[in-house]
Amino acid sequence: MKNRCYCKILDNIEIAPSIHKIEMERVDGLGNIKPGQFLHIKCSDALLLRRPISISYAEKDKVGIVVRKAGEGTVSLCNRKKGEILDVLGPLGNGFTVNDGKRVIVIGGGIGTAPLLELVKNLEEKDVTVLVGYKDMPYLVDDFKKYVKVVDVATEDGSVGYKGYVTDLLKAKLENDGADIIYSCGPEVMLKKVQKIAKEYKVKVQLSIEERMACGVGACLVCTCKVKSEDGVKQVRTCKDGPVFWGDEVMLGE
């Protein structure tokens, strides 16, 4: 049976302004972890609901998450200290499908780069290009470089790498080299562009999307999103049926 897990925080460091990397003990209860899955974390006793946070990387004895201070929940999570215990449900969600195609593009934006790290680790023996975009200060770039040679960075203000949107890099890469599959996670505007570009170039794409959640396990139906299916448009659960969807099916912000 699945269980609620209690994981000790092994480390918590600020890797960029308002971005924390938190490493916790990988207790047995967490079981197998697929790239793209998330944890549902009780961030503070003062808040009722849990918060969904992607698993950024998983090792034999530890699990890492990367958290952006967005509001009360994530701020208190980032303030948790080494040695404290986190109340965690997971791993939850479906995760990325990793056996498709040889030439792979992994494209992330902002905090959406976090779950892509575990994905990239699982793409050994493939020809992988990582494209990551940030507003200003990049993070996790060196972590990606441990697993892949090509990591191209874009920043909106041009402080590091290409000046502009990471989706510009995607277009250029597809124009020059093509790809068999694209994996992406990031803000909705970016995912929409990625979805459109993938369609233009006829490349399969998987998108990891966000929706506000309550239960995280598929019981409450507050987190639904729309997907196209054979019998029309269907409402499915982002937490259980996603958060990863095929780009030609999921309807973003509609």
Binding site: M1, K2, N3, R4, K42, L47, L48, L49, R50, G73, L89, E211, R212, M213, A214, C215, G216, V217, G218, A219, C220, L221, V222, C223, T224, C225, Q235, K240
Partner: protein, 305 residues
């Protein structure tokens, strides 16, 4: 010290192994939480609100966290009653727990149709939801008018042999009156409370956070209201009550029993801790032992004034 505690409850015809159930809409059709707990161990499962046709529900965002509570505006998304009977009920029936089908109509006719369709199935009881705040028609509009409550209860009762629970809305001036109407209409049992209508506003965008604007408030924030209402209604009617609203632990549940509930339902707390219903059941048992009760029945309505 008493050793063996009788945890079974006879709700005047519907017998539960124990008094801890889960609230409609917070437990899906059982499958998801079946991965975390043994469903045989809870007294009953009230399934997600059913309608005649499949419903897509409201647009997202459908949830807002509030101080010790949450607002939801799911809007009765469900696959429809026929799908439920065919695809979900067999799974639930394989467990030794009672199944309560929560039904929702736009008209009295629809409630009756739903009751008819469920009459020859393995469902143990029907729960008439006349209190959903998240749909335009039916729902809470029914639950506010004592005459309508009487009529819809009576009509449904005529169309089914199933045990009938009527679920009351807290969004009324006098809940005693509504409870009494349901009783005279033929309800076997009452359940309360459904969610309180609320709203959350994003002050940066100066817009409501929920796509639909308003939603139903649940969780610890509503408990005092719920306990008061269970207390009031239990004095006004002679049928059993299933109490719910903000139950997070056994202490909360005990409050409801003392106020007059025969059985409790756990809702929002499941989202926080999937194992909570079992923990609450164990807590109640220990409490009864500690206080020297030999059965859960003995605790009901024992509030001392």
């Amino acid at each position: 010290m008493v050793n063996k505690i009788d945890m079974s409850v006879d709700l005047n015809g519907l017998v539960l192994n124990n008094p801890v159930t889960v609230a409609s809409g917070t437990f899906g059709f059982g499958r998801e939480y079946g991965e975390y707990i043994d469903l045989n161990k809870i007294g009953a499962i009230a399934v997600k609100g059913l309608t005649l046709e499949e419903r897509q529900g409201n647009p997202t965002p459908r949830v807002v966290e509030t101080p010790m509570g949450m607002l939801n505006s799911v809007g009765l998304q469900n696959p429809g009653v026929d799908y439920f009977i065919k695809e979900e009920l067999p799974y639930l029936s394989s467990y030794d727990t009672k199944i309560i089908a929560n039904i929702n109509g736009n008209t009295i006719y629809e409630y009756c149709k739903l009751a008819e369709k469920l009459s020859n199935t393995a469902v143990d009881a029907l729960e008439l939801n006349i209190s959903c705040p998240n749909v335009k028609e039916g729902g809470v509009a029914f639950g506010r008018d004592p005459d309508m409550v009487y009529k819809v209860t009576k009509k449904v009762k005529e169309n089914t042999d199933k045990y009938l629970i009527v679920k009351l809305s807290p969004n009324v001036a006098d809940i005693k009156e509504i409870g009494a109407s349901a009783e005279s209409g033929g309800a076997n049992c009452l359940s309360l409370i459904n969610t309180l209508i609320g709203m959350g506003i994003d002050i940066e965008k100066q817009k409501p956070i929920l796509a639909r604007g308003i939603g139903g408030l649940s969780g610890p924030a509503v408990k005092p209201v719920a306990v008061r209402m269970v207390y009031e209604v239990s004095k006004a009617v002679n049928i059993p009550i299933i109490g719910m609203g903000g139950i997070m632990n056994y202490q909360d549940a005990v409050e409801f029993f003392l106020a007059g509930a025969w059985t409790v339902a756990v809702g929002t707390a499941n989202f926080v801790n999937p194992m909570v219903s079992i923990e609450i059941l164990e807590g109640i048992e220990e409490y009864l032992k500690r206080k020297g009760y030999s059965s859960i029945k003995a605790l009901v309505g024992q509030l001392k004034f």
